[in-house]
Symmetry: D2
Subunit: 447 residues, 4 copies
Amino acid sequence: MRFEDIDTTIQTLGEAKIPSPLLQPTERGGGTYFVDDDERILLHVNQKEVAELKKRDLPAPAFESAGPRRKIYFDPSKLRCALVTCGGLCPGLNDIIRSVVLELHHRYGVKHICGIRHGLQGFIPKYGHSTVDLTPESVVSILDKGGSILGSSRGDQDIEEIVDSLERMHIGILFMIGGDGTLAAASKIADAITTRGLKISVIGIPKTIDNDVYLVARSFGFDTAVDIATQAISGAHNEAEAYPNGIGLIKLMGRESGFLAATAALARQDVNFVLIPEVSFDIDGPNGFLDNLEERVTQRGHAVVVVAEGAGQEFFLDRQTQHDASGNVKLYDIGLLLKDRILSHFQERGIPMSLKYIDPSYIIRSLPANSNDRVFCSFLGRDAVHAGMSGKTKLVVSHWNNHFVHVPMDQVITQRKKVDPAGKLWATVLEATGQSSLKNPTSPNEE
Amino acid sequence: MRFEDIDTTIQTLGEAKIPSPLLQPTERGGGTYFVDDDERILLHVNQKEVAELKKRDLPAPAFESAGPRRKIYFDPSKLRCALVTCGGLCPGLNDIIRSVVLELHHRYGVKHICGIRHGLQGFIPKYGHSTVDLTPESVVSILDKGGSILGSSRGDQDIEEIVDSLERMHIGILFMIGGDGTLAAASKIADAITTRGLKISVIGIPKTIDNDVYLVARSFGFDTAVDIATQAISGAHNEAEAYPNGIGLIKLMGRESGFLAATAALARQDVNFVLIPEVSFDIDGPNGFLDNLEERVTQRGHAVVVVAEGAGQEFFLDRQTQHDASGNVKLYDIGLLLKDRILSHFQERGIPMSLKYIDPSYIIRSLPANSNDRVFCSFLGRDAVHAGMSGKTKLVVSHWNNHFVHVPMDQVITQRKKVDPAGKLWATVLEATGQSSLKNPTSPNEE
Amino acid sequence: MRFEDIDTTIQTLGEAKIPSPLLQPTERGGGTYFVDDDERILLHVNQKEVAELKKRDLPAPAFESAGPRRKIYFDPSKLRCALVTCGGLCPGLNDIIRSVVLELHHRYGVKHICGIRHGLQGFIPKYGHSTVDLTPESVVSILDKGGSILGSSRGDQDIEEIVDSLERMHIGILFMIGGDGTLAAASKIADAITTRGLKISVIGIPKTIDNDVYLVARSFGFDTAVDIATQAISGAHNEAEAYPNGIGLIKLMGRESGFLAATAALARQDVNFVLIPEVSFDIDGPNGFLDNLEERVTQRGHAVVVVAEGAGQEFFLDRQTQHDASGNVKLYDIGLLLKDRILSHFQERGIPMSLKYIDPSYIIRSLPANSNDRVFCSFLGRDAVHAGMSGKTKLVVSHWNNHFVHVPMDQVITQRKKVDPAGKLWATVLEATGQSSLKNPTSPNEE
Amino acid sequence: MRFEDIDTTIQTLGEAKIPSPLLQPTERGGGTYFVDDDERILLHVNQKEVAELKKRDLPAPAFESAGPRRKIYFDPSKLRCALVTCGGLCPGLNDIIRSVVLELHHRYGVKHICGIRHGLQGFIPKYGHSTVDLTPESVVSILDKGGSILGSSRGDQDIEEIVDSLERMHIGILFMIGGDGTLAAASKIADAITTRGLKISVIGIPKTIDNDVYLVARSFGFDTAVDIATQAISGAHNEAEAYPNGIGLIKLMGRESGFLAATAALARQDVNFVLIPEVSFDIDGPNGFLDNLEERVTQRGHAVVVVAEGAGQEFFLDRQTQHDASGNVKLYDIGLLLKDRILSHFQERGIPMSLKYIDPSYIIRSLPANSNDRVFCSFLGRDAVHAGMSGKTKLVVSHWNNHFVHVPMDQVITQRKKVDPAGKLWATVLEATGQSSLKNPTSPNEE
């Protein structure tokens, strides 16, 4: 889908008629900052692309700006909000929880904020998870803790049961922090709410350690993940350099998108091969990975390889597909496959070497956010609150061209954001690593 | 100056006729990435602003995209480059040096890269600083070190002497990493080069720990500075909370712009007052800082105050202006002034309290870059090389609307980037701190 | 006082008759670990010193080992404990609080643990600080927070009022975490308890960021302080190296003992001068600090100086002595004095230079403990509980010759631990820095 | 072997007759620090044990103190030294290299220091590794880098060939940094040197990430390893807490000794089960690990398990023994075994759960040392130099009862240091975790 075909219209529950409590005279030095609904951020910033739209007589598409509105839809004194974190952990979850609660409580005066425990399970009575009252006191010290104080879970739950639960609890705004599975559920929940004629706003905050949500330029927690991944690469590099023909092999998260592997590789520039899901490669053959690795190792004495977990899944095509609780396809372990193939390749060639395999796995996603992500989460949480209070719904708070914007929920789940093999990020990785295409002239995979 | 009045034209030394070495068949998987000179990034992304330009029949201004060109100007085999770091330290200097050297050497095949020691002094014979040969070997391990392996210095040097020196060394591209003083000198150097009819490209990489260079959305090292500043705030908050009526007062860098203070305050959200140069405040009076602080402390038991070094300089107007070696106005110490005033205020009111003053000073800028800044520096350095190799000159590599662009050197030194008191950053700081205007109804400063 | 004159006898409240709950069959793999009262750790480990004692027919003195006893004095089901943190912050306070609470609650079954707020003030009704119930739930997440969840305060309070308060609250064991002022108060409290015929155990845990409590080989938090101080030194070194004739001057804590300055200097070995309270030095004169500094700077181009805040106090002898709330002598600022003297010295000599002054101050002591200190605090807290439960009193838990021991409270407050100018630590600092005596042949200070 | 049977005699190459250069007047403030050969540190510090020795009329054994001697054996101006790092990486290797080089060069005036590349392989011509000149300039900036600038390798090499190499290079002192395999080789090298009548001192510095070298109370790098392991535990704990019936399983290094697992568990106190090689456990059965884990998880909702890689090797007894290049028995992967067994156990019982397996592997050992280890390495390196210069040989520099001492090489390789299942460390782990014996009443392993 091209940007110009994206429907950027944001749904609302109804007219926002109540003057925002943020309008009340606070003697602020900087004046009072509000955003109008017609403030919009262009999707395109490339002059050529804009010019071409013009040629085709198409309007340049733009996302609604996030931020506080002068009029709000909900009466803060009567409003009950719910907050839920779903799917895998991600640095910054607690920062967003804190930011949402502090903004609702201190700025809008909303006193009833309910934390749903263990993701979508928390809505379903049979699991028996109780809810948590969220207050400034209960969130003030959670910044230095990784994970989510609300917990999480994987897997779908019945949409109608979830909406039943929202009705029972008299929730007015539901904040859902989760990945594309969660956002798909959120979209269905919003639809069910509409069908029932309820007035519940559903606001999504996209979460993905892989930085792969479509139309979301930057995901919270990703920068922290790069930080931690860099540590693993640094260790692997030290191991590789120390031993004769030393090889450091690091597996990083990245199911369908290689942003983490590509970005972390640029942070150290000590990496010689980066393998990501978006760019297929050959393991064998004259220009395959193994021969290239052998050349590097025998010429330079060591090598560092970073592989994203979703890379090279085509090498497992003969095996049966399995799924996890969330319905995600279970990935085969490309890290262990490469480890085995490297070991046997060098053994066959009679070249002594020393391979160190490092899989930081969950460490990447379960530690507290760094400062950069904290600042980002502070904005995300507050803008989610502003969006909900104004009666908007079925949207996610996104970051686009350096601005916080509202994106309709259905748009972000149409596809994943991918590393563009022809774009600047991958080109820079190729420059930094000096790696070749790793494809044989007539690769069987491409025939 | 409004964006639409900015001249975005980039100067060149002449026609780039030599096919780039990056074009040579490398069997790259992702195709080869090149940028054309007519790829441009819009300065505006706000739909309204673009619409208004259209109404006024003005073209939307756009910056030239940074990146590798298909044709280059310099013959790599004969080219000599020089690199200099000037002014105050900043996390990431060594990352940029490394990135420039690796790109020049490995990708373009430039073998003569000369490091100038101690900033502009390094060009002037009387200082006697020798130069350093920069090779992949000499830069490979400098990543984990803060500071600059080339050193730096403050202060102007004679432009003609600098150009003499460039001529003597047969330099083709001069990379200058520095703040606005350095960029002003770079601009004059470029002009003197033109006057002499020389073919030397001058490429600037803007450096500012205060994140205050105009038309540069993000400066390298700033994110690391926020990280370290956050640590100081965290310590101050712990001190303040521990003692009855505890006050933590942190002074942070920020001569004319309060980005560091404002951003670091958002990272912890433990801060109750942020004072920056862009927003004036009263110390005394019914809504002045001291009475507000007293109210917070007596009601909540503790308070944290972050002050940028350039804030409140109007309180020193009666004192004589002094300048440092670079000609910068020496700032009076607002941190110590506030410390004294707070102590005497509480003593006068007979309120026992415990004040802890923390000034992390140079720690903020002299430590190694974090991963985020490292990735950023990796791009900056490579794009600086691409710009220079293509024969462009008198430009800085900047980041704008999430893209790397070329900005004419003269444009970035016309003014400083400031925190907009009516914008989102400051509004969010006000929300997070809950601080009032800190201005009295008829403040004498405003009369 | 020589070790052989130290009275190592530990006071008890009475016979410990109750079998320890730790004795109950727990099917432990490692058997059950208990310490008998006659397990003792020798004060001397130097063979010569032991031999000399033998010659003089003196018994080798030994401290009672810390650890769980088979019989305890207090009935856990009826026991109420109190915990207070006093004086300056120190990394690890929350770790000790957590360790004490978890051990009392989970292992001994003590359910009533009372946290006293804001140090000794918390006992005195007029301050109006309420107490805090300490439970496993309330302490489980405090590890990642610096400071003390109980807060602290400086200054003495009336001993009888404190004991009144203990009586009112029916406290059986009082855990006091504090420096030598606090331990002196603790000793008086224990005496007042004896005078009143009460059965309250007073257990001290020595706290000192300066690592200067006598008979305590290692203080909690010190290792973390070294970590943080090292960061400041690293920054100062980068600053010094970068500028022509660059000087980095770092002031570190260390009122009467220079352990922090000396140890942090060894961590980087980038330091050229270390100035501590234990070793006097001349500022002026042919072998004074300034001339030595000038020599180093002019020969090597840069220098790094670390000064402990208590060093060189003799240079302020003409000024009036002031005291802080705890009655400590207020130190004059040797850091600022040296800064001024260095600046004027180089100006007088006409030598251009660049001085960077760094005072990390409270950052050193207000951040969370590192892993090493956490493990140490875990042991300290548990051993404090074991000591108290067994009915011992008026002791501190100390670390001596790598073992945790009980030391009578009165012994540790007789003097401060100092860096031995003739010992290995200082000799190694001199080797690492290469600094001279910094004393003139006939120094006026020594006449 | 009991301590009293240890032969603590240190071999020397001959009489040390040359006055130490450290004696030369340096105007040191603290006097000059030297250690006499009869300064000795007692092995025992427990009063009871010493008393018992006395009863048995045995002398209390003592290690020679490390440190500078007044007389040295080698003439610094003619001396050539070699330095080699062997076996697995360990944080602090570069710190020791730096400390040895700086002390030799600056203090003793030794100018020829040769770095052997890639461990013992570096001595053997067939590998073709060249040597490296080590100078203050080449080591000054290596502190911030993990690994070893000299590299390393695993496996034995021919002793005679090594000594041939030392002869060819005219080496006077060989510093060997390595684990017990290396120290065994060092011992044989020293013997071959004696047989050949050469005058080469062999000084060992014990390296073990497992902290398991006998008679070495503390190994360099261990504290850093605990730091990093703690991060992994923290992540696992966050994962476990977040999910319903969440289990975090962390595998840590520790082939034969569980110090790392036990110590890191105490640093967080978030761990519920610690499994180490020294304490056998049952997986199945009513009090086996799985049933205990199930109980914990179902009652408390989550659990964290730390397993040392060498734990539970008895569960693999039916499999064939394999060896690695160094001749070490290849361990079977207890982490993966437990992962599989936990998954199938909960599946069989029909209990939904979420298991996260974290194996930080080489990250633990390949990162730079923390400040604490840096200070320790600074002492170790200098004391190794002092020992070698004085003509002593076949010794290791050890840390015992808080003092640096010389221990004969042959003594430290007789056995490994183990966690004492009846000692304080393990008892405290049991207290902190609350774990049971994990042994069934009539465990088949014990029959």
